[in-house]
Symmetry: C2
Subunit: 439 residues, 2 copies
């Protein structure tokens, strides 16, 4: 068992050379944001708005710090549990970060996101730079205030989404030029501009600018891309500068090739970051190949820094990643699924559209304490989905985020107690039972 | 000042003949519904879910009764304030009923609707009978449980919406046959079936089945329609039977013709109802004509029963109606406007789509205590509307419902204090100032 707070130096060193990073969705402000924007207003309606996550007991000790730091609290095999401290609050790890692409976790009030147990949100640099614009967000007081989330926010670098969403992309050593998918306006992203945008947004955890190839890809292409990302990582580190209380994460690339992953990790360690992401996975390679990389990749990264697996994933992906030493993850899955009538439960996926639910008075999951499960029947959820009512997205997203956070909480407790293997066996046993029988 | 509880007899008498009623949107369950559906669940996330309306201080005395009754507490000119007591809770009048067409107030959690100050919701018989179906709702424990609203619900009779939404309508003395606008299935509504459906839904305030012509219409057509509605009102009364704790309201028709309104009121009083609606207005006649009718129509109805103006309206419509003696109203306006980027404030309407808001750090209304105004800037509301984010509908609907309930609360207080004229003057003064200047 480890228990040592590791204040992360603001700058570990810098070497021009290689650093990688990819993927990433969107980053938002954290829980408990109740600062009144400069006006004397009565608080009559909103007294319920400042919920904290409630899945775990509160963290002991002072809640605030002026530094970014990571304290490992326990390990169980390769799995780790700990706490990332930031000036905006603590992040219990392993942590799942809901994605708030355009300054909102879709269909959720931010206080509801906090109520599910989320300590940190992810915001998307690509989306926010296009609309409403980073300079505008800065003038409005930063992303936390803009979207009413007081906790930590991680922003991606924009690199991944430029490659997946933008039009007329042109990639050079300097960066990437592209046209907005919204209005066709021309933009440029470079490591320097990505750092600037993430600073304008007020991000607490900034991601190095990277390029991320889809898999499968030729090893040579993956190597070339990785080395470009490592050069960009060094430029990101240089441009980020010295920002106490804010963290910069480097992103390992290298596809599914162990030697390339090792080369990338070495490049990143030489540059020095506050945390290290594993990028370039969950891009089409499949779970088996991803776990294959995760069997070695986390171990290549510094033990005393958080390790963030970008864009992952389904509950069993998350469990498999945590078991292999990952501390942070993000994915649009719980919120996106919620909008298409898909619920994630202990027993697997439930398609609420299915006619079998039309007369079912039972909740989605009778053991779940989210509002959708406490207050509504499957019949109601089926009805409002079929009637295209907005509350369908609101309730299913809430349920899914709640379930994902409950999974994280369960893993944190299991790791702390040294019983992650038993937790995993129970996870798979209940899932294998499948959904409850129709009535 | 009046202060006399009037227990409404379950049955005042019955005369075959005439009774009217029209319009109506959709009805939903009331505030504070926290009954756990038969399972032993921990309450960890949901402790904020049971908010009561907070716009007025709690009503004195016992909160529950086994009878439906109406107690006038004060009058100010023709305006009245009082309390309707039902087994599911009290309704402070004048009351505005948010509309929950398909078992949800669109884009709102029911506890949020309660937090705006709503004591009662309206549900639409037409929509609910088609989907999910009245028998299904009954099997699932009734509309209150289905949609998680424990307070009173008023359901319309279905008559108005059959005429405005259904296909292939055929009207006879017996009732109306039509095809569903959802799936084309054939249905029939009669006074007897409407009473049955509203009973299956578990409605607290049931509306007599009526027919409502659009205006302008020939006086002869209006008279013929009104007399049919009066015969249907008598059949509704007969079919409703004796249901302690539930109320049946008759609906006055007669268009804009005073003699027809008088004939209709006389027919309804002879039949005897627990409350009386003014139907057939807000159907195209304009505010001046509507107020013209409201100058005499409320006075034709029993003083000791609630008077409900169906389908009204904008804030100035509501104020004008209350001034003329109306106790209850409903309208889709605040929720529908919220989904199209229209906000209602003390200063009139704000179109949040307008580019003038893109950089505006100020709230919609700095005096408003709703979450949209306390926690977000106009710039944010503009951004999420433009980005088509669901939270746009959630926040603007919440704001609008909050504003409408605040208006009702202000009128109740003003009537109780005998200063409604001053309240009205201030209402129009602030509106005339218009929205705040752009920054």
């Amino acid at each position: 068992m480890l228990s040592r707070p590791v204040p992360v130096p603001e700058r570990d060193g810098l070497r021009a050379g290689k650093a990688a990073g990819c993927n990433a969705q969107a980053l938002l402000p954290g829980p408990g944001f109740c600062a009144k924007p400069g006006r004397n207003r009565r608080d009559r309606t909103g007294h319920a708005m400042c919920l904290r996550g409630n899945r775990d007991p509160p963290q002991p000790g002072a809640d605030m710090t002026d530094r970014f730091s990571f304290a490992l609290q326990a390990t169980d095999g390769a799995a780790r549990t700990g706490v990332i401290s930031t000036p905006r609050g603590k992040i219990r790890t392993p942590a799942f970060m809901p994605v708030g692409t355009a300054a909102t976790v879709k269909a959720m009030m931010p206080e509801s996101v906090a109520a599910t147990g989320a300590d940190i949100l992810l915001g998307n640099t690509y989306h926010l730079m296009l609309r409403p614009g980073a300079e505008r967000v800065a003038r409005l007081g930063g992303l936390h205030r803009f979207m009413n989330w007081a906790g930590p926010i991680l922003t991606d670098s924009g690199g991944f989404q430029v490659m997946s969403l933008a039009e007329l992309r042109k990639l050079t050593e300097n960066g990437v030029t592209f046209r907005s998918h919204i209005d066709g306006a021309r933009h440029e992203l470079t490591p320097e501009r990505s750092m600037e945008i993430q600073k304008l947004l007020g991000s607490d955890i900034v991601m190095a600018f990277d390029e991320c190839p889809a898999l499968p890809a030729a090893e040579e292409a993956v190597a070339r891309s990785m080395r470009l990302s490592m050069r960009w990582a060094a430029r990101s580190r240089e441009a980020f500068g010295d920002r106490p209380g804010h963290a910069l994460f480097g992103i390992q690339q290298g596809g599914v090739t162990e030697a390339l992953r090792a080369e990338s990790a070495e490049a990143l360690r030489a540059i020095g970051f506050d945390g290290y992401a594993i990028g370039g996975l969950a891009v089409g390679e499949g779970q088996e190949a991803m776990f294959g990389v995760l069997d070695y990749a986390p171990g290549m990264l510094p033990e005393d820094r958080p390790r963030y697996l970008m864009g992952v994933g389904k509950p069993d992906d998350i469990l498999g990643a945590v078991k292999r030493g990952v501390d942070m993850m993000d994915c649009v899955l719980p919120s996106r699924s919620g909008r298409t009538g898909q619920a994630w439960t202990r027993r697997g996926q439930v398609n609420i559209k299915n006619a079998r639910h039309a007369d079912d008075p039972r909740p989605l999951d009778e053991a779940c304490t989210c509002p959708a499960c406490r207050n509504y029947s499957r019949a109601y959820l089926h009805h409002v989905f079929r009637a295209k009512e907005i509350i369908s997205s609101m309730l299913l997203t809430w349920h899914n985020l709640h379930y994902f956070q409950e999974l994280m909480s369960g893993m944190r407790e299991a790791i702390a107690a040294g019983r992650l293997a038993a937790f995993e066996a129970e996870f798979h046993r209940v899932r294998a039972e499948g959904d409850i029988e129709p009535i």
